[in-house]
Every structure is written in structure tokens, then in C-alpha cells.
Symmetry: C2
Subunit: 340 residues, 2 copies
DNA sequence: AGCGCAAGTTAAAACGCTTGACCCTCGGGG
DNA sequence: CCCCGAGGGTCAAGCGTTTTAACTTGCGCT
């Protein structure tokens, strides 16, 4: 039952503890012959160093924390799921462990996010789904510990981030709808993230440049969920029957909106065009399949890990990167309906 | 920069290290006055014990590992996501940390799953998405370490598990379709899990008891994904045009199947009824909304944590539990089409 | 006065590893 | 022939806790 420790290996090989440890850490001071002897004994016993002892002694854990927002069933959200997948797969391939944390009140009030770093329990933080109200992020920015905001940012503050290009997204979406002749457009989104706010501003701007009157742009605030999209679409359609297109802040909202439109007995895209954002797997299999702006969330996750490594290695003080996006045209958008 | 340790607290309070440690672990041997003194100092310094040191010394980590299968983008799968959410939220509310592991080749070949337990890096394992081919599970069953199979089982082997009731699910689904007059039914599922196999057997049995000829039951094997459902539906419809209903092994397959049916120019449920399983959020927002067998995945996750605790406390040798299911009727199923 | 005992506290040995300082041995240069 | 330095190893002091056995008191008995 007693686990084999570094001591057992040392005894078997007739060397000291230190030697074994040095071999395990690829220290070049050990001769090739000793190294081989130790390694073969390690293999023979399937020896695995004790992580706790290692971390305690070395004051570093070779692991990182993913901070997800405090939402119910948050791991069931494909948006976060895609990003976490990208993070997890990339980080583990680089030998980093991934820990999960949820940014609930306790986590924030006890400064757990700083404690994780101070106690060296993790080497860095990857923060998902932060909102404009997350004041605690200021402490992080000031702290000099490695962290990256994932698919979010704060204009004007110098914080590390990796994000999709929401500004180009806005232009692509707007132009696509304009090209189809839409001049009465609803927007369905939240106001809790800077990305959504940036998106709205640039979408509005692009629409107006394309000849849409400001009063023909309709806005509905809501949760980034199917339910939020459903209710938002209802609200907009009740008020603005002249509306011919809906731009949703993400694919889930778009799918919720389409559901409501179907319920109402209207057809997408014949009566109303719908465009989403992200291009999660569900977009392709929606009925009708969803036109959307593709954000490579998996890639965003992977790049965030990369950014963290840059910070670990002190190759940069600040990492800010915007990733390209792409319009994916499917069935849910089409020419504006003939005036009825 | 130097973190405050137990030593600092001890010095400040004029007591020994042991006393502080005992206070922190709620040992009743310490007097109320000393306890208060220590605790107030702890609060003052926002002292947090070092997890590594604690785990190393106590040989227990108050944490558990979730093992997910080695699939691409696995965290973006709402099936796993729901379960992980249930696990995470329940475990953290009980003071347990949750670690993520992926059952890839390295993980299995190096016996990492056993090492995690041997080195006490985690106290128990929660295994998701295991398949009939996962031979390594035998080692676990033999090992006497705490683990629970989540929503899977091996008939005949005495392994711990928590699972939805796939047998009742099968009867509910079959009877629902039979009630609507369906007598030519396709099944879309995988063959890699015992739950799916059990489901198939009992679905078949129920259908035959309901008067469906065996040769009018069609089977298509495939991945548990939208794409798998899409292709499976195509395969079935190409071969069996007389088919009027499709039972899918999960909601994602059902949604993929509906997508294919729409592509083919057919209507759900007018031409083909479709029923899914799980009742993930997407089921309600599909077009048409999906009739399905509800498995409370979140609850399954939470119960699995509960089961692990029972094993920790040695209150039972073996934990096997089957959770109730429910038919949720929505729009995707209806009476059989009139013969054409 | 002496004893036993309970309650409260502490000393010290782990836990398994890392790491900087130190030590030995040899070969070569002065 | 001695000294020096490089290469290869080892020593031992941590890292920050837990935990067991042992040590004080003070008190009530006899």
C-alpha cells in the first residue's frame, strides 16, 4: 500500500535523494549513466512524484485556473464549453493542469482569486465571462500576477486579453443584412459586457452609414440565453411589426428568437431574417440553419493559454490580441420581404 | 510578498503552531478563549492555509476528479456539461474541489487514474461517458478506492454507479410512439454504452409487445452527435421509406435527425415523428420543439457526488442507484401519417 | 500532603520533494 | 609535485502543515 517514493528509487539505485530529484527535473549535472539507471528504476516501479510535495517544495504548481462566471449550469453552456475545451486541450498538451473556479461571491469577497496566485496554487488565471461590473478585476490588473481575460476586455484599461474582433463582426453582420435590403432591424443582446456594447455601437454605425434611419433600429436588452432570445424577439415583434431582421448577440439568443418567430406563425427568413454570433455547433443544425458570425471560441481558448505562457516567461508585460472573425451564411437570412 | 503562514499567527497569538492548526481544524480540545484569539488573528491577516502543505501532511486533499472521455471539444457537449455542472455545484457546496481529467491514452496507460488515488491527490473519481470498451475500469473496481460511474453501468459487475432509468425510458418512448399509431420505427443510437444497449433491447421488446413486427424496427448505429443523427436519419430514410417515427439515443441525435428530415423536404411530426432523450435545453428550443425522455443530468451529477461521500464515509461498500425519468411531450411527435 | 485525573497546550516527527552550498575525484597546467 | 577547476554527486535545510504522544496545571479526593 505504501507508495513508492523518491527514497525507494534512490535506495534501489544506490544514489542520494537529490540525484533522483535532479534526474527527474532534467538537470544536466547528472551523468548519462546515472540518469539511465534512475530512469529505468522509475519506469520499473511506475513511480510518479507526489504533486503536493513537489509544489510545496518548489513553490510552483504548473497549473492554471479557469474562472467561469457564477451562472447556473454554466458548464452546460456551449459558449463557455468551447472555450474551456480549447484551454484544456492546449494546456494539458503543454503539461499544465487545469483547475476550475467559479466566480461566486465567496470567491470574490475572500480574494480567493489573489490567494490562488499568492499561495502558488496556480501559476495563472484565465477569466471567462467577466462583465463590466466585475470590479475585482482591478486588483488583478494592479497585482502583476499572470492572468488573461478571455473574449472580453476593458477599453482604456491596460489589462491582458484575447478576444474575437467584435467590431469587424458588427460590420460584417450589418452589411450582410443591408445587402439583403433590410432597413428595419432589431438587435437582441445584453449590456453587461464591453464586447456587446462595442458590437452594438459599431453595428448601429454601420447600419446608419448604410442608410438605415436611427429610429428604425430597435434594441432589446436580455440574457444571452435561448430564453432571453425568445423573450427579446417577442418584445420586439410586439412593438415593431415593420421589423424585417433580427441581429442576436449570440447564437443561443438567435435560436430562441427563431423559436419565438415560429410560434408566432412567421417564417425565417421569409418574414424575418435572423443572424447570430459565435457559430456554435447548434447553429448549423438549427431549423432553419443559422447565418452567423463565426468566432473561433476553441481557438480563443488555446490562444489564451499561449498568452499566459508569454506572461509566465516575462516575454511581455501586456498581452492584447484580437482574433479574426468570419461571416457564415446559412438559411436564416434572406432578402427583405415584399411590403405587405 | 511573503505570505502569512500558520507560524505568523502562532507568534502573534503567543501560542504554538499546533494550537493554531488545531483551532483551524475545529479540534474541541482547544479552549474557547484561545480559539477566539486565534480566529481573530486569522481574520485580521486574511490567513489562508497552504493547500499543498495541508494535503501533504494530512494525506488527503478534499477534492475529487471528474473523468471525461477523450472527445474533441468535450466540454462543449451539453450532455457532459449538465452533469459536470451538477457535480461542480454540489461538490463545492460541500467544500470539495473539483479537478478535470480526460481519459486519453496517456491517462489510461500510465494508470494515472489509480495514481491520482494512490497519491491522495484526489479522494475519489467520478467517471463520465465511459464505454463498454473501457477495460481499465476493472482495475478500479478491484482497487477499493472510491469511484462512481456516472450515468453508465456494467450489468453483472459490481461497480458503483448512478444512472438514469434507461429501461423505463425505453418503455415510455415506445408506448408514446405506439399510442400515436406508429408501427414502422427507426432507432438511432450508439452501441458503445450499456445504457444504449439496454435501452435498445427494452425499446424493441416494448414495441413488439405493442404489436410492431420485428422487421419493422430499423436500427442505425452512430455517434451521439448532431452529425451522427443527421447521417443516421439519412441512412434510415433512404432504406425504409415506410418508416414514420424515429427514436434517437439522445437529443443531439434527434436534432440532427430533424435537420436532415427538413432538408429532405419532409415535415416533423407530420411525415415523421421524432423523439429524443435527455431533455437538454436545446430540446425545448428546437424547431419543432422536441418530444423527449427527460433525464435530470444535473441531478445525476449531484447524486454522484453524494454517492462518493457515502463511499468516503464507508457507509456502504457498493452504491448503485437508478434515477427516475419522465416523458416530455412537445411538438416533434404526433399521429402517424395517413398512408400515402 | 500526596495522588489521580481532566483539560489545555506543546514539542517534534512526519509528509515527499527541491535546491543552494558543499564535497570529492581526476586530469592537466605551472 | 602541487594546485586548480570542472564534472558529478551528496547534504541538509527548507516548504507549511498535521498529528501523536507527552507535558503542564489546577483541582478534588483521601
Amino acid at each position: 500500500m505504501a507508495r513508492t517514493t523518491i527514497k525507494d528509487i534512490a535506495r534501489e539505485c544506490g544514489v542520494s535523494l537529490s540525484t533522483v530529484s535532479l534526474v527527474l527535473n532534467n538537470n544536466p549535472r547528472i551523468s548519462e549513466s546515472t540518469r539511465e539507471k534512475v530512469l529505468s528504476s522509475v519506469r520499473k516501479h511506475e513511480y510518479q512524484p507526489n504533486t503536493f510535495a513537489r509544489s510545496l517544495a518548489s513553490q510552483s504548481s504548473r497549473s492554471l485556473s479557469v474562472i467561469v462566471p457564477h451562472l447556473n449550469h454554466v458548464f452546460a453552456d456551449t459558449y463557455f464549453g468551447e472555450i474551456v475545451s480549447g484551454i484544456y486541450e492546449h494546456a494539458t498538451s503543454l503539461g499544465y493542469k487545469v483547475m476550475l473556479e467559479m466566480a461566486n461571491r465567496h470567491f470574490i469577497q475572500t480574494h480567493e482569486y489573489l490567494n490562488l496566485l499568492k499561495t502558488k496554487r496556480v501559476d495563472g488565471l484565465l477569466i471567462l465571462g467577466s462583465s463590466v461590473h466585475d470590479e475585482y478585476l482591478k486588483d488583478l490588473a494592479a497585482s502583476n500576477y499572470p492572468y488573461v481575460l478571455v473574449n472580453h476586455y476593458f477599453p482604456g484599461r491596460s489589462m491582458n486579453y484575447i478576444s474575437a474582433d467584435y467590431i469587424t463582426s458588427a460590420r460584417l453582420a450589418a452589411n450582410h443584412l443591408l445587402d439583403h435590403g433590410h432597413r428595419h432591424i432589431g438587435m437582441l443582446s445584453g449590456t453587461t459586457t464591453n464586447t456587446a456594447l462595442d458590437f452594438r455601437d459599431h453595428f448601429t454605425k454601420a447600419c446608419m452609414e448604410g442608410g438605415v434611419a436611427k429610429e428604425n433600429l430597435y434594441w432589446s436588452d436580455g440574457w444571452f440565453t435561448e430564453q432571453g432570445g425568445f423573450e427579446g424577439a417577442q418584445w420586439l415583434l410586439d412593438r415593431y411589426p415593420e421589423m424585417t431582421a433580427i441581429m442576436a448577440g449570440n447564437d443561443k439568443m438567435a435560436i430562441g428568437a427563431m423559436r419565438h418567430i415560429a410560434r408566432r406563425g412567421l417564417k425565417v427568413p421569409h418574414d424575418i431574417s435572423v443572424i447570430g454570433m459565435d457559430d456554435v455547433a447548434a447553429a448549423e443544425f438549427a431549423n432553419p440553419s443559422l447565418t452567423t458570425i463565426r468566432h473561433d471560441l476553441y481557438q480563443i481558448g488555446a490562444k489564451s493559454v499561449e498568452a499566459l505562457l508569454v506572461l509566465f516567461r516575462k516575454e511581455a508585460e501586456l498581452v492584447q490580441q484580437t482574433l479574426p472573425v468570419e461571416l457564415v451564411v446559412r438559411e436564416s437570412t434572406g432578402p427583405v420581404r415584399t411590403a405587405s
